[in-house]
Amino acid sequence: MLDDFMLRAALGAIGLALACAPLGCFVVWRRMAYYGDATAHAALLGVALSLALALPLFPAVIVVALAMAAVVAGLAGRQSVDTMLGVLSHGALAAGMVAVSFVQGVRTDLSAYLFGDILSVSALDLGLIWGGAGLVAALIAWRWSALLLSTLSPEMAVADGIRPRTEQWVLNIALALVVAAGIRIVGALLVSAMLIIPAAAARPLARSPEAMVAATALIGSAAGVLGLGAAFRLDTPTGPTIVCAAVAIFAAVTTLGLTVRRRPA
């Protein structure tokens, strides 16, 4: 059954949407959008490392993404977070591309890591993606209340015996997992799009944090399947088409929300 590449691609896209849903909501709530970018870009350095040293891709990407998180945490408070992430994000992206170019024979494949190649997803990749999604879901479900309170007010969380910095690392680890899972599907440049856009689209539809995660998972999955179908029919690059489908859903929900709100009650 998993022989059909379209089926594997659809399962991969849905797995990524599920992995992105809980984390994407926190990325939106905590205004970490740029942070997601920086982690995803750092993943390209992980790709270079894995190619150069013949290491498996998944752990290499995770290690580099976590190293990025550690650097960000270490530099916190020295510069504005925005500026610092800008430096690290673009620095990591550029360094990753330069590093990849040193590895023989990979130059032509670079776009597969920048934009993903969902149609070549293997059964093993699927296992990693769904395993990653399960791990992220378990991690966030375990820390759910503490994460919500730390997001609302770190001081309130501390007063309740929660350590916001530890909770931040829960998110960092989840982010590294998602980036590693997503780099094969939508690529390093667009993986953070799958974090932010479905969550942003889900916001007007939800009245509780849990409902927002569920709506995000649904919208992300729909975008994955719709984008995959559109890319197949229109012969367009798959990863970007999936992101376009997510943006289309976001636009539809937002427009609908505006019209509903404008109508007198």
């Binding site: 205004r31 007010s153 001081e155 007063a159």
Partner: protein, 262 residues
């Protein structure tokens, strides 16, 4: 008289929190230095100080969100503290109903939450999104959630920011009532000097270090305090005098000066 369940009014004894020579530096910059203070059970302590004087950092240090770079903080064993922030770091991006918020981080009995909301004048608003609460409702909600913990020490950071004058008055009335009913100590940061006069047992005037402290009367007459607050201090002095004695001839009182008359 109603008492909150579990709030103990033992009185006296060892302080709830003691700071000894506490200094805090953030990003290499000294924010607080040499802070000595202690908060006793049932006491209302107010910290006043100009912007950038380290008031919020002091609160965060006492909570444990910031580690002191020097000195020692001692908390009574098993101390339960609750924190009421100036505002939540959320905006419309997180959907959160009032009931869900009251259940963070621990789930609570629905009847307990309903009773707490009723006391806060928020009865029946369980399903209301936080983003749809008014400033005053939000403040009361934050306080109601903080009180669910049956705290020994309630810490309020600029609890009245964004409230209008009647809102401020009723907010502090509520604080005083909680203090009376439950005996929990209150530590608050305030810009509102009239409130300092009315409610506090002890006032600490902060500007990176403790400039002066004591009863509201002592502090309001202290030269360090008047120097720090300038016109505002004068206004406070004037305010006091309206309520203690009159100045028919506009002559300054002996012993201190009226800044506003200068």
């Amino acid at each position: 008289m109603r008492r909150m369940p579990g709030c103990r009014v033992t009185g006296g004894g060892a302080p709830l929190v003691t700071l000894a020579g506490v200094s805090v530096a953030l990003g290499g910059q000294s924010i607080l230095s040499g802070i000595d203070l202690s908060i006793r059970r049932g006491e209302i302590v107010t910290v006043v100080g100009p912007n950038g004087s380290g008031k919020t950092t002091l609160m965060r240090t006492i909570i444990g969100a910031v580690a002191p770079t020097a000195g020692r903080i001692t908390r009574a064993p098993g101390l339960r503290l609750s924190y009421v922030p100036q505002r939540l770091a959320i905006d419309p991006t997180m959907p959160m109903t009032l009931a869900r918020f009251m259940n963070l981080p621990r789930r609570r009995d629905a009847a307990v939450v309903a009773a707490a909301l009723e006391r806060a004048g928020l009865a029946g608003l369980q399903a209301r999104p936080l983003a749809a609460l008014s400033g005053g409702q939000m403040q009361r909600a934050l306080l109601a959630r903080a009180l669910l913990n049956d705290p020994d020490l309630l810490i309020l950071d600029e609890g009245t920011a964004g409230l209008d004058q009647p809102g401020i008055a009723s907010f502090y009335e509520r604080i005083e009532q909680v203090n009376r009913d439950t005996g929990c100590a209150v530590l608050m940061v305030s810009h509102d000097l009239q409130v300092v006069m009315r409610a506090s047992d002890h006032v600490i005037c902060l500007n990176g270090h403790i400039c002066c402290e004591g009863t509201p009367e002592t502090v309001s007459l202290s030269p360090a305090y008047l120097g720090l607050f300038g016109g505002a201090g004068g206004a406070l002095a004037l305010y006091r005098h309206h309520h203690t004695h009159s100045h028919d001839d506009g002559q300054p009182c002996a012993g201190h000066t009226h800044e506003d008359a200068a």
